[in-house]
Amino acid sequence: MLKSVSIQAENGAEPLFSPLSLAVAPGSVTTIVGPSGIGKSTLMEFIGGHLPRGFRASGDVILDGRNVTRLPAEARRIGILFQDAALFPHLSVGDNLAFGLAAHVRGRAARTAAVAMALDQAGLPGFAARDPATLSGGQRARVALMRTLLAEPCALLLDEPFAKLDPALREELRRFVFDHVRDRDIPVLMVTHDAADAEAAGGPVVSL
């Protein structure tokens, strides 16, 4: 849930957008649309705890009744899916997933099994030893989603997740992402400038 969030560039007089309040129900996807440059990505960074220097923000981010606004990013348990997937190039696909996998899954066998299962769900069985650089765009996006979900986030942010994909692939990946996140019963917030994304998400749409 967001409470009257407002963000201002430090050298700008005007806030990026008028104060915003919204609540996202668990298991649903709320979409924020708006022209580029209005601050959609900055809003995502604020919610995730990554607001860069040079911005001032007011308002609160409340997750499951917990005010996380002052918490560091790593303590918020808010997962992010980036449009460029941000897979770590020095780790294999499997190790990228193991990096994400929550620490309470203990023991090498259990962790390897959890990673293998996630790869199965992503339709990429046997990809554990692959170099992420050899994956296609769609495969990278699926691995990135799995890595994010393995960390067991309490909420999920999608930052233009399909913008870099071919139109043909986009449809398939939308289904994959939305099916997976609905299963999780966590609130999901997406920013996009593609109306088809909002339609596929099937949730409320907020215009900035």
Binding site: E45, G48, G49, H50, P52, R53, P72, A73, E74, A75, R77, I78, G79, I80, F82, D84, A86, F88, P89, H90, L91, D95, A98, F99, G100, L101, A102, A103, V105, R108, R111, R147, T148, A151, P153
Partner: protein, 569 residues
């Protein structure tokens, strides 16, 4: 277009590099190796034997010297790397970090010898720090009997190396980080629940390291074979191996040259083995790191470590600044009895008394520095221009070649090179010194110049060609003026490297060429800090002036050319 001409230029440059850089090193190594196995007709040694090695292993302190070399080299390089990465991690996102890092340039410009002498003035038992704290905090009325300089464990040497190497690593790291998606990966890592410092260790570090591996090896090789700083700050009896080898080479007893050659050869084995060992440690760490990453632990916090690294680097830089100030103060001190915090009387007498001495030293330092830099700059421009004209991509093998003089320890081939020069009848003069300096100046000039040169917008060149300008006019009327700032920066770096050279001057000059560096190092073992201070101040000032000129000249010439301010640098 003008491919034949480009090819000719390139062949000329390759010939100059092969004949001027690579061949001398190989010839020097060859002569050293022959002497190491008992063949040096000049002193009547003939034939092949293992005798020099037997004598070397029997020389007093040999084992300790070897251990000290490994300890100081590895400890200083590893610590400097950890501190520099730690500081970068702690400060990366802070405003002004990049600008602040540029303030480190003075420490890069300061020659090792001057910094070492200043540091000794600062931390010696009768040094400035001890004076500032006495007697009110320490109760000392006389300098305490402590080995804070030349300590047998080499800690003062490690400290000195850190002051020089941390700024170098910081600049290298900053350049490498600009090629990585640091911010994005920090966000991704933290969104997965990892703290800032841990993301640096698990995600950024492993991507950063391959980009800075070569500079790390250069620093390791340098730290394992440093001589001037080790003479001033390092253990004295026995010293580190490179200093011991230098002493044996220069000893009155000429038969020591044979075991000294063996030790010089061993010195290159130490460097090669050291790099091999470091490489093995890299592999082992990467393996352990992957297991650690797979476990997905989020509990550890690296923040205290980052704070400690930041504090340590600040302390080191304060020591560096204090060292330079100590040089200046001592050079104008007259009466300064212990434990006064400041001199009781000031005087320029030390400057006046030694004017004849330092005048000559400044003169030869500047002549050698300017000649060497000009030579290196011409060669570097010819190399890059040849590449342009031939439309060739940068050749990686050739770049590896450039690093050769930086990776092979100087002591390993300089004596042999001296022998080669003597045979050729060109030994012992200023010309030989200039050539030897150029071996080490050229790589740095080339490294400094190649990135800005290749980043030059080719549209300018095409526009000039379309206007009918031939290759020569394109070079002199377009490229060089646009690249004035990086050219001068590269020249300043080259000049600073030349001023700092100790061993090449010592060996190739055969004791007849005295520069500020050789004089300052020789004086540092004496008792008159005032005169030593004069030489060290001058030695530190020359490179600094060169950097100021490199900044100031383009700023004045291009004051009405906003498009050239910084963009090309």
């Amino acid at each position: 277009m003008t491919a034949p001409e480009g090819r000719l230029l390139r062949l000329l440059v390759l010939g100059a590099v092969a004949g001027g850089l690579v061949l001398p090193i190989l010839a020097g190594l060859w002569e050293t190796a022959r002497a190491a196995f008992g063949h040096l007709p000049a002193i009547g040694a003939d034939g092949l034997s293992l005798d020099p090695w037997r004598r070397l292993f029997d020389l007093p302190g040999f084992g300790t010297s070897l251990t000290l070399t490994l300890w100081t080299g590895f400890a200083s390089t590893a610590l400097a790397l950890v501190l520099a990465v730690g500081l970068a991690a702690a400060m990366y996102d802070r405003a002004g970090f990049r600008g602040g890092a540029r303030l480190l340039a003075p420490f890069l410009a300061t020659p090792h010898a001057a910094l070492a002498i200043g540091l000794a003035f600062l931390i010696a038992p009768s040094g400035w720090i001890s004076r500032l704290l006495s007697p009110w905090a320490t109760g000392w009325d006389l300098p305490p009997d402590l080995a804070t300089v030349n300590d047998p464990a080499g800690l003062a040497l490690i400290l000195g190396l850190l002051v020089k190497e941390v700024p170098f690593f910081l600049l290298v790291i900053l350049a490498a980080l600009s090629q990585l998606p640091v911010r994005r990966h920090l966000e991704a890592g933290r969104a997965l629940g990892y703290g800032h410092g841990v993301v640096w260790i698990k995600v950024i570090g492993p991507q950063l390291y391959p980009l800075i591996r070569l500079p790390v090896y250069v620093v390791l090789s340098f730290a394992l074979s440093i001589v001037d700083m080790a003479i001033v700050l390092g253990p004295s009896n026995p010293p580190v191996l490179a200093v011991a080898v230098t002493r044996w080479f220069l000893a009155a007893e000429t038969t020591l040259i044979l075991p000294a050659s063996a030790a010089a050869l061993l010195q290159s084995a130490v460097v090669a083995g050291g790099i091999g060992l470091w490489w093995a440690a890299e592999r082992a760490l990467a393996r352990i790191g992957r297991v650690w990453i797979r476990r997905g632990g989020r509990g550890v916090s690296a923040e205290p470590g980052l704070v400690a690294a930041g504090a340590a680097v600040t302390g080191l830089m304060a020591l560096g600044a204090g060292a330079l100030m100590a040089l200046a103060v001592w050079s104008v001190a007259w009466r300064w009895s212990y434990p006064r915090a400041l001199p009781e009387s000031w005087s320029l007498a030390a400057w006046g008394r030694s004017a004849a001495g330092w005048g000559t030293a400044v003169e030869s330092t500047v002549i050698i520095g300017v000649a060497t830099t000009a030579l290196a700059l011409i060669l570097a421009v010819a190399w890059l221009e040849g590449e342009d004209r031939d439309h060739l991509p940068r050749a990686t093998w050739a770049e590896a070649l450039i690093y050769l003089p930086l990776l092979v320890p100087q002591i390993a081939f300089l004596y042999g090179l001296h022998v080669v020069f003597l045979k050729a009848g060109i030994g012992g003069g200023i010309g030989a010194v200039i050539w030897a300096h150029a071996l080490f100046v050229f790589p740095y000039v080339m490294i400094a110049l190649s990135d800005p040169w290749r980043a030059l917008d080719p549209a300018y060149i095409r526009a000039a060609a379309a206007l009918g300008a031939g290759p020569v006019r394109r070079l002199f009327a377009v490229k060089l003026p646009i690249l004035l700032r990086p050219l001068l920066t590269a020249a300043a770096i080259g000049f600073a490297v030349s001023v700092a050279q100790y061993l090449p001057t010592l060996f190739m000059g055969a004791g007849r060429v005295a520069t500020l560096t050789t004089e300052a190092v020789t004086l540092s073992s004496g008792s008159d800090r005032r005169v030593t201070g004069v030489y060290a101040v001058l030695q530190a000032a020359l490179p600094f002036l060169a950097y100021l000129a490199a900044l100031g000249v383009p700023a004045i010439l291009h004051r009405h050319r906003a498009g050239l301010s910084g963009g090309a640098a």
